[in-house]
Symmetry: C3
Subunit: 400 residues, 3 copies
């Protein structure tokens, strides 16, 4: 066949439409099974894919978010006034904020030499030779001078060290917990942005000037007042506030945004949940505490007040999800659904051939066995004239 | 049938190849519709899936990122020099950095007793019995002592409280805004790592030592100089710098990485965008401010300087996306495309049977109706000998 | 056809089952190719999709995470004791913690006037008129007073500026590096929560009280002791600790959780990896340093100690992945696999028609060409009586 004829035949053949030949089985049982399987598949897609998973929407799961926090509250601890500047660290109001509930304060520390803590390994001694000068213990407070001195006003002796004196273990004053902190409040302002949908939302609505100064968060009555009592947060996280004052703790404050932009966009409001984040089972490691110092000069020398602070650390974590109808995912998932309906045929074919087709009526009609061997002509009274290619389903060798 | 024969037949049948029988319709109209629908589906896949969504690539959307920030600039506010150590908090140069633009300073506060602010509820009084000792107002500054005293040098009286005196509302000095801060600069160094592709990139290129000390960011001329004037940032975020000095504000600095590793990897450079993050519509809650204190000792007593700072907080947010050609997603999406082309058949079958096949020529050829009932034999001059299974499309009962 | 008849026919037709007619080719070569292609596709799905990508599981990639850090260690630098309160910033123990390894300290700065640094542009002068009063250089330390003064105790002159005096460039004392910091340790406590699976895990196991005070992290022997020597971290990040003391650096500490909840949940343990995050290639910008000040009062005036700190900043980054068997993704991917097996037919059809079917036996049997033109009747000895619709594959016009 010349190239031209080949191309011409190919071009003409390009515009043919091929459709598979189909055997229609009028078997009520099989038909019911087939439609039932189809119904199951379609129902699965409509319920799970489109309704439950909202696959007809394009979605965005990581909005851009900004958090601002501020604590309010004042209380007296003994003679000392504790306002928010005293107990809130760090000051800058970001997404991690902590309130100091209890302090162990070592006043007036100054660099010098004093006895090491007796529970530090190798600190106990009876004479100077027990203490190796220049030695620094991994767990200690400073560097040994080589002298063995009385432990402050006690009878036993420990090695003298160069450190900030007096040491914390001896001189720290354990303050009572700031129990009124249960009524302190934290104001959490959050604004999120879904760049895909170009929507900006916040967790505060426009209100009278005084509203936010006076309200507290209540899920039903005041959902737009993100001012939370520390006691409410502890309770929601199922924690005992006094226990938290003792050991400190880290509590996660989750701001959950779940927005469906096909519905009323103003229904896109956050919910709040709280959970304690530090593991409680293990002693020595649970709770939350840290040390810091306030430095000052007296008589030309530098002093510091060492503070070991126990408190609640609030980690504000923002989760956001938004979805809106979009043609592309709808088309893609609809095509996937239609394609999956093809699975019904595989199942029903198997049912048909295995269970229903006892006399092989259907399999005879469905399967046309062709082998390469050209079968012998058989004389019959059928003539083959004028049939040509319109009778391709008869064996070629049949002479009629 | 014995088990052996069954297994033998199954094994031989396993190596048969089944192909659906197909009816070729030589209808030009239908052929054109069919090819047109195919063309649409293929074009959609090539344009949207492969080119627009880059589905032939495997991608990574969350690179590991590190940010370092540093501000530079010095100005005189009245008599007081303000260098970066004065106005930048926190000092450690992480992904959140703020510059104080305006301060309300209460100098020389010391713990003691003084009159409460008159706008605090229940603070106004005429006699001692109006003030309940030990009471702490949710909105106040301290704990009531039970005495009613003149409000500083005024004629009216308020309850005396134990607090840091003098109170901020009375004694705060409102400083003028640091307007020269519009020329202060922030240097933002960012390096990201795409672990899936093992690529490390940064937003600075190797330059002369002095380049980064002198340059400012310009999108076209100096894209590798991430030194931003605060005025430029405010302008890009469409904010008025003076208004920001008044209330403070939170501005998001977005570093956007969009890298296609099939192209020149060195073309993987970041772009920067800026947007104000705190909601502006609501009074009392917009803007950005926080309080902190500087402590010192004088005459053996602890004093503090309380500062209410208004400023710009910059939240550096890094977005990264990288893609590179990968065989697996290409194969998967190609298979999905080819499978979806099957949808064309469903559509064209429907068009063919509903609109084109008026005389039911095609549906007669396409559908072979089979019912379980064995049709009556018909006498014809066809003989059935030697037909056997090669004539499975004739009714079984035809005796020829 | 009346509406009722139409609906009745449609309803009856709804319960028919259509199955494609199939031609069975008994060609051993083609059968082997067909099964081989099927085997490849199925193997790909089983290996890659189900085993490698674990597509039978639903997964969660972004657990909620909380990090707490604390450094321990003390050393003497000359005469000065440096304990953790001195070198750790910030104090609050979050997911970013830095240790100061080297300081450049400018003591006793006080607001006043003094000579500008000679390397600042336009700082050098010979007479007062060279210095423009009120001028602030972008790179300088303060505002010019308009006088030209000797540069501290040198012979040349620079412009006098109003700033914190003496300036850092002149008066800073470069302290030696804190080399013993190589043995300081950082304790990293991490707890994660997979909300989809409601599983909470931590990187510490219950141990004797003293275990965590004494142990160091070793991957094989003590994987549950997240106490890391700074030297170990530097080594793991392939960095030289002395070089880090010189320039500072940012090191990422990655806590990697990879949990398969189909296996023993207690095998869900984290691994740690370390990598230097700041780009090292570029001078002036690599390393990590920041400035801060300690303020104090002396003789009624405010002083500050300016400190330029070089150190290691540890960014704790938590990666989590968890998966568990779920019916829905298993079904979806199985359906996709089965659908993709259909691709085998397309390939094998092409092979069959192009290479194997030389005599067009198969294509004759497979393709039934139908054109709209009704072919001329041909006289044969076949009768058409009683065939009706069960013989739809013969040409309608054949008169038998």
């Amino acid at each position: 066949m010349g190239l031209w004829k080949f191309l011409k035949d190919y071009f003409l053949g390009f515009w043919d439409y091929e459709t598979p030949k189909v055997m229609v089985v009028k078997n009520r049982t099989l038909g019911v099974i087939y439609r039932a399987v189809q119904f199951l598949v379609i129902t699965y897609f409509i319920w799970y894919v489109f309704i439950s998973q909202k696959a007809y929407q394009e979605s965005e799961t990581r909005p851009e978010s900004s958090v601002y926090t501020r604590m309010t509250g004042v209380a007296l601890l003994g003679d000392s006034v504790r306002d928010m500047v005293e107990y809130v660290r760090p000051s800058e109001g970001g997404d991690v904020i902590s309130a100091i509930l209890r302090q162990e304060v070592t006043h007036d520390q100054r660099q010098g030499t004093c006895p090491e803590y007796y529970m530090v390994p190798n600190a106990n001694c009876t004479q100077d030779s027990d203490c190796i000068a220049g030695d620094v213990d991994f767990d200690g407070n400073g560097q040994k001078t080589g002298r063995c001195v009385p432990y402050y006003n006690k009878t036993f002796k420990t090695c003298e060290i160069k450190t900030w004196c007096p040491i914390e273990e001896y001189a720290a004053v354990r303050e009572p917990p700031l129990v009124e902190a249960i009524n302190f409040t934290v104001f959490i302002k959050n604004s999120i942005h879904f760049p895909k949908f170009k929507v900006l939302r916040g967790n505060i609505k426009k209100t009278k000037h005084d509203y936010l100064r006076r309200c507290h968060y209540q899920e039903e009555t005041s959902p737009y007042c993100p001012v939370f009592r520390l006691g409410y947060i502890a309770e929601q996280a199922r924690e005992n506030f006094s226990a938290l004052c003792e050991t400190g703790g880290v509590i996660g404050v989750y701001i959950n945004w779940k927005c469906d932009f096909d519905l009323d966009p103003s229904k896109c409001t956050p919910t709040y949940s709280f959970r304690r984040l530090d593991i409680r089972k293990i002693p020595y490691t649970s709770g939350y505490n840290y040390r810091f110092a306030k430095y000052y000069h007296k008589n030309g020398q530098e002093f510091r007040t060492l503070i070991k602070a126990y408190g609640i650390r609030l980690d504000i974590i923002v989760h956001g999800y938004a979805g809106r109808f979009s043609l592309i995912p709808t088309i893609i998932n609809t095509v996937t659904a239609m394609t999956s309906v093809g699975i019904c045929s595989i199942i029903c074919d198997w049912i048909m051939l295995t269970f229903i087709d006892k006399n092989e009526i259907y399999s005879e009609r469905k399967f046309d066995n062709v082998s390469k061997k050209i079968p012998q002509p058989v004389s019959t009274e059928l003539t083959t004239t004028e049939y040509g290619s319109t009778h391709s389903d008869l064996s070629e060798g049949v002479a009629l």
